[in-house]
Symmetry: C2
Subunit: 879 residues, 2 copies
């Protein structure tokens, strides 16, 4: 017997359920669930994702048994509906919809009104007494089937529709009457024939087979692939296909269709939130072609259906214990549910919904913590417009506040341009009349999105919210001219490249750039963070080099500094001159003289950082980059330096030449500097310890941790440590006082990882420098790998870019080896990570599993890390 490929639902009973998402897709599983819950779901059946998978493995042919099961499903459906395919008396029409295990809105294909043909149209007219509806359904089907299934150019149909509208002076599609729509159908049939060289297939089963294939195929269309890449959707079998009896929102003015969220997806407010259109089918709402009505107004149109929706809203939230995104249709006054799924939401909404649901006892604190996508949290952390600056800036339009946040950028008018400009490092605002799935790439790189058409559930709005990207949608007063590359907002013209600013929380569009202000982190956000801290077991530190960054990070909840890069301190102002003096010096004495100038400056920096830390520990890395990074490599820079420092250009050039390296990544840097020029380390150690003593003298706790970078061989650390301890002993003697300190190393050279037992003898702590460990471990130069790494990820050689998500299978193995060896020798060794992976949720989960003591990340990622660390603990303690 062949596998079960078809799961039916209808008449209050379904073969599937919500938990079968990976087999039935989200839509199919939830249709089954809703059916079992007793909600009014039109009957139908779901073809499994396994069938799709086997379709691909089978050279795009149906697996054996599928056809029979589909025909059986149709039979059952005909029975449930008391209607038959092609039956002029009582014709069955169905929708064919994609639906993967993870929602990919608008990315795959849908065909509505399937089963229609001239004979059926006649029957429909008879049965419904609504000639216009029948012809409208037919023309919709030809257009959709032609476009989606047969790949006829969309424009070709649109052109004919417009011609007929022009011919009869119709403004809206609804202005066309039955006869006119019949004319549209005739023209559509010619278009179909012209483009496909085939007659339009009138057999409903043939239509169905074509459409199922189209849905299967749409799983791997370009935009679906791109969407999965961007949204990191992996490991799915394919899409399921839902074949469901049609209900018609376009059956006249007592019919309609709508989408709604059980809570506000932007703010999280606990209110019913949605839109609907009467006499319309689903795509009319989603595509944003007509601007829909707010859901509240439905009670005036159909009080019963509205009340029923409110009941369903409550029922679904209690059942799913999460905010739901639903689709419904009203056919001649009667409500049908077409979809429910977990609603996409902004970070603000996610936080509020989770916090509120805990208050409402729908979910636990732990569930609340697990409910929020850490990556999305970013939205709440980035600065908003400075209110004063915003007030003073000219508003040129107001649209819908489709996705919160604030963005300033230069205007571009196409997704391609957006990608191109962004590649050059420019901030762009993508301006479109409306967006479509083809625009995904451009939306992803834009700072914000502005559309002149479409509602809160339009494509632009939904996608932008998912991306956590600021979006103002349906700004109807502006006109966007693609050809002229120009926005007209009243008298104001905005050209390509001009700056505008968007406030995605108010819908305001501003001319020019606006200064930004820090986000507020109180209320529900604080509550989620508090719960995260309660359930996480590893520490979160920050990578910060200045007192200001330190303050921001501590405000964000950092429990110390995991990486303070001292070299950044040498670039500011006049410091670079002293530093260059040091580099140019011919001997130790000359270097020492220059270093003496730097000592008080570094000491002061450290004092500021220690104060900002309020007693939290601070890991300070000694000088790391190769010296040539501090010298100008171009002639103009060298000339300038020569003038400032009164040193000949030749001397500078000679120094630059002598410091040149073929592979600076593997060159004279890290502890190799401090070992060859111990006076540099001595100065830095002195600055750290003197600063610590000075701050301690003011009654503030200090915990300095000196980190020796780029150790590959324990002897490097041994020598560096001895040398630092000698200097520290001298300072303690001079000052007649002491302070506790730690000395440790970065584990970033593979050799150090595999000999970590030896290294651990001389280290109070290890901090995994996973950036360099990735470079050396994988043999990738971060500056060069762009030439092949994207291809590598596309080929699946690496699941993710290993510089973004820690390569746990390889680089992670080195980390595991080092942890095991290090702990074997030094049971109490502190273990942390300070590479950029320290703020990336998947990498944080790895750190948790490997038993690290803390992660360290950039200040703005601290809350993300706190949440991700809590999730890692909760997810893994459950198991």
């Amino acid at each position: 017997m062949s596998k079960k490929f078809v799961y039916s639902f209808g008449s209050g009973k379904a073969e599937g359920k919500a938990k079968m998402k990976s087999l039935l897709g989200g839509k199919g599983a939830n249709l089954a669930e809703m059916t079992n819950l007793g909600l009014p779901v039109p009957p139908g059946f779901t073809i499994t994702t396994e069938a799709c998978d086997m379709f691909y493995r089978n050279g795009k042919k149906w697996p054996s048994g599928l056809k029979e099961q589909v025909l059986a499903g149709v039979k059952k459906l005909e029975k449930d509906m008391g209607a038959s395919f092609g039956d002029p008396k009582n014709p069955l029409l169905v929708s064919v919809r994609s639906g993967a295990a993870v929602s990919m809105p608008g990315m795959m294909d849908t065909v509505l009104n399937l089963g229609i043909n001239p004979v059926v149209v006649a029957g429909l007219i008879k049965k419904s007494g609504n000639e216009r509806f029948a012809w409208d359904s037919f023309r919709r089907f030809i257009q959709m089937f032609g476009d989606v299934v047969m790949e006829v150019e969309h424009e070709a149909f649109e052109h004919e529709l417009q011609s007929v509208k022009d011919k009869y002076g119709a403004k809206q599609d609804t202005d066309l009457d039955a006869a006119m729509l019949k004319e549209v159908v005739e023209r559509y049939e010619s278009v179909f024939k012209k483009y496909t060289s085939k007659k339009f297939p009138e057999n409903p089963i043939e239509q169905l087979e074509y459409s199922i294939n189209a849905v299967f195929n749409s799983w791997n269309n370009d935009r679906a692939i791109k969407y999965r890449q961007i949204n990191d959707i992996k490991g799915l079998l394919g899409t399921a296909v839902n074949v469901q009896a049609m209900v018609f929102g376009n059956m006249g003015n007592t019919s309609g269709t709508g989408v709604a969220f059980t809570r506000d997806p932007s703010t999280g407010e606990n209110r019913f939130y949605g839109e609907y259109l009467m006499n319309a089918q689903g795509e009319d709402v989603v595509a944003g072609i007509r601007t829909p009505n707010p859901i509240e107004t439905l009670q005036k149109v159909n009080k019963g259906a509205y009340k029923q929706l409110l009941d369903i809203r409550k029922k679904l939230e209690h059942h799913y214990k999460d905010m739901q995104d639903i689709e419904f249709t009203i056919q001649e006054g009667k409500l049908y549910m077409l979809q429910t799924r977990s609603g996409k939401r902004t970070a603000a909404s996610a936080v509020r919904v989770a916090a509120d649901m805990v208050k409402e006892k729908l979910i636990t604190e732990k569930e609340a913590v697990l409910r929020i996508d850490p990556a999305q949290l970013d939205q709440l952390l980035h600065p908003m417009f400075d209110p004063k600056a915003e007030k003073e800036t000219k508003v040129i339009s107001k649209g819908l506040p489709a996705s919160p946040g604030a963005a300033s950028g230069q205007v571009v008018f196409s997704a391609d341009d957006a990608e191109e400009w962004a590649k050059k490092g420019l901030n762009v605002i993508l301006c479109r009349i409306e967006t479509s799935p083809e625009d995904i790439g451009g939306m992803n790189v834009a700072r914000g999105i502005l559309t002149s058409r479409g509602g809160m559930t339009s494509h632009a709005a939904v996608v932008a919210r998912g991306m956590g990207k600021c979006c103002v949608a349906g700004a109807g007063e502006i006109r966007i001219d693609y050809k002229k590359k120009e926005i007209s907002a009243g008298a104001v013209k905005v050209k390509e490249g001009d700056w505008i600013s968007l406030n995605g929380s108010t819908g305001n569009v501003y001319l020019g750039k606006i200064a930004t202000a820090e986000p507020s982190l109180a209320g529900n956000f604080a509550k989620i963070m508090q719960w995260s801290d309660k359930y996480r077991t590893i520490g979160v530190r920050t990578n910060a080099d200045t007192p200001h960054d330190t303050e921001v990070a501590v405000k964000f909840g950092a429990e110390g500094i995991g990486l303070c890069r001292t070299e950044h301190m040498f670039f500011e102002g006049n410091r670079i001159i002293a530093f260059r003096e040091m580099i140019l010096a011919d001997d130790v004495e000359g270097r020492k003289k220059a270093l003496e100038k730097l000592l008080p400056i570094q000491r002061k920096d450290f004092e500021g950082i220690f104060k900002a830390l309020k007693g939290y520990p601070c890991t300070i890395r000694l000088l790391d980059p190769p010296l040539h990074e501090f010298l100008p490599h171009d002639e103009a820079g060298q000339k300038e330096m020569s003038e400032v420092m009164k040193v000949s250009v030749e001397k500078i050039k000679d120094k630059v030449d002598s410091l040149h390296e073929f592979n600076p990544m593997l060159g004279h840097r890290g502890c190799r500097l401090g070992l060859i020029y111990p006076e540099i380390s001595d100065m830095q150690v002195r600055a750290i310890i003197e600063a610590a003593l000075n701050v301690k003298a003011k009654g503030i706790k200090v915990k300095p941790e000196i980190m020796i970078p780029l150790v590959g061989n324990y002897k490097e650390l041994k020598i560096a440590r001895e040398s630092a301890e000698k200097e520290i002993k001298d300072i303690f003697k001079e000052r007649k006082t002491k302070v506790e300190y730690k000395i440790g190393t970065m584990i970033e050279v593979p050799r150090a990882a595999v000999t970590a037992d030896e290294v651990a003898r001389y280290a109070d702590f290890f901090s995994f420098g996973t950036n360099d460990l990735t470079q050396m471990g994988c043999g990738f130069s971060r500056d060069d790998a762009g030439k092949f790494l994207p291809d590598y990820v596309a080929m699946g050689i690496y699941e993710y870019d290993p510089f973004q998500v820690l390569d746990t299978d390889g680089v992670g193995k080195l980390v595991e080896i080092a942890v095991k060896l290090g702990r074997k020798i030094n049971k109490n060794i502190k273990l942390g990570i300070c590479g950029e992976h320290g703020g990336e949720p998947k990498s944080i989960e790895f750190c948790y599993k490997t038993g690290l003591s803390y992660v360290s990340c950039s200040p703005y990622r601290v809350p993300i890390a706190r949440l991700a660390a809590a999730q890692a603990a909760l997810r893994n303690s459950k198991k």
Copy 2:
């Protein structure tokens, strides 16, 4: 009680023995051994190397107890000799000599005739009746003590000696009579006072203490440190000090002194070989100031002593079972032994002595194999002068054949110049009147050494043989003028920078450069190699890229190619044009077109190599270096390329720019090329397999092994392997025949090492690319590490340069991990090494211990590797 620091010997009984070398030094241990053997050794005592070690740990102060033990040793010596320090009637004179566990000839200090003072001189005259001898001994002592112990300038004494000689018209030192020598003594005393501001110390115990300190201190003088570095002498505690009753070779014409080898140290011939001088002390022979007589002539001078020496020669060889290097003194006709040690020898001599001793049943085959230093073998493998070319070249002088081999180079006249010129990559011949320990650095970098003074045991000769460096010594007809930087050889003048050639086996000096010929590998060498092959358990392959190199390597005993680098094939002649065409191509088609031109060329290369291998396996690495290495980076080169290829300079420049990498070592190379441009790998795979089929068709066995380079992730290998196998399948189908092949990878990326279990699923073999594994594992760019690596080795962070000797503790750990993981998955996986470490004896021992199947090295190192592999097996199976 304090430690035992003093071991006495004398009167047929010694506290020490030969096995106590590390405590007593080589000289001390062997003096004890010879005493116990009943040989005529003047009594004395040895201060241990531990005492020297504690002297240094103690801030250069004697450890407690040493003084008492030295005084007790002196007492015992006085008793043995029936003479006392400072006793005018019967004065005890002693020598104070350094002696570490490993011989460091001439590097440390020696003081002779200690105990002398004006009172003792008077007593000596009375006792010996030889006034001249007494004054000569005194003047020698003042000079030596002043020079060695008090650091008085050598020249200051020489100047006075010369003045007195000039005053009395004396030509030789021996022309000075007692009165004249007394005058020398007086002058020396003034010199001593002038330079040291001290009166010459007359108390023998004070003299002794000073001298022992001087010997201790000489352990760490510059030349001793340098010698230990060059000769890789590590782990010693310090030097022992031998205080021994003086015997006088300068007591008139029945006295003398000499050095000898029990066999010929140059050729290994089983004949007594040495030199002596009558009426002289040891340093006169060694320093080469007077030219000594061949040992055979001693039988005419003192038949008894000569016969006694022949007996001792036999006794020592039978006792030590090795060729010995001895020192003796004859005092008034009576023979005394002052030293025996294992004799330094040339590689040729080492091979012959070992082979002969097996024949003589003195040692076993295994012992013979262990007796030869693999590194030294190099001497026998490098080309000698082409005999015809040599015959046709003008001989300008003939000296002693002091160290065999042949060398051509440019003349320099100082060690410093030699080092400087060599740094620039020039081949130099160091020409000196005589060499001294200060010249060690220059001798080390020179291709050959020429001296105008000194014998076969002169400093130059001994050191050069140790280094395996060609040396012609004592070429008396030439005059070397340091000031003019000129050699006069009769009418011929050779200036600095002129080319000369040395034949170290004949002593001939030639004007100009001479072409070279291959060495012969028959006879004893073949025997040693045969025994090596008998006892070694791992294979030896070669790294070769051409049929010629392959032939050479097979002749040297290579059992296959471990690394054939295909990229070298692309540089020759017109090939580079096709290759550059490939690089410049805009698309796959363009690349394929260019690759088609390369296919037949590569195929032919492989055919040649397969033929030369005669059935041995051949590991061929697919293209490895980044593409930019194949393009000219300078403007002139780009212009030339533009003209040849009829492509604009801009296009070439653009390509070079687009291919530029910040860290090419970690860039787009290795399998990353083949994965992004699969057509390159396809072409190479096709060339390999088609060549294999063609050669197989001629009845020659072929074993191609395709090696995918720079794999870091098993998926790279998986994809590359699948792609290669597809191509191979196609070829087999086209040709309707097959050939066996293997596909494997280099393990050179640390990530591959720690995930070797996964990689092993797709690999028939691993070849450890330890060069790159060192670069990535340690984070060292080979091209840049020169800036700090020598300091690192000096600081002891790495014991050796990890690019020369495998860093077994770190990089070796990665190898061990990979071996363990790889074997776990694939029990039969072939494991080899193809980094340059494959020809380095210590690294070979590591490979043996780690269980690799073979090592691969450059053709000229194959015999070294065979020997080293045998030694590794013998050494480790013994344990």
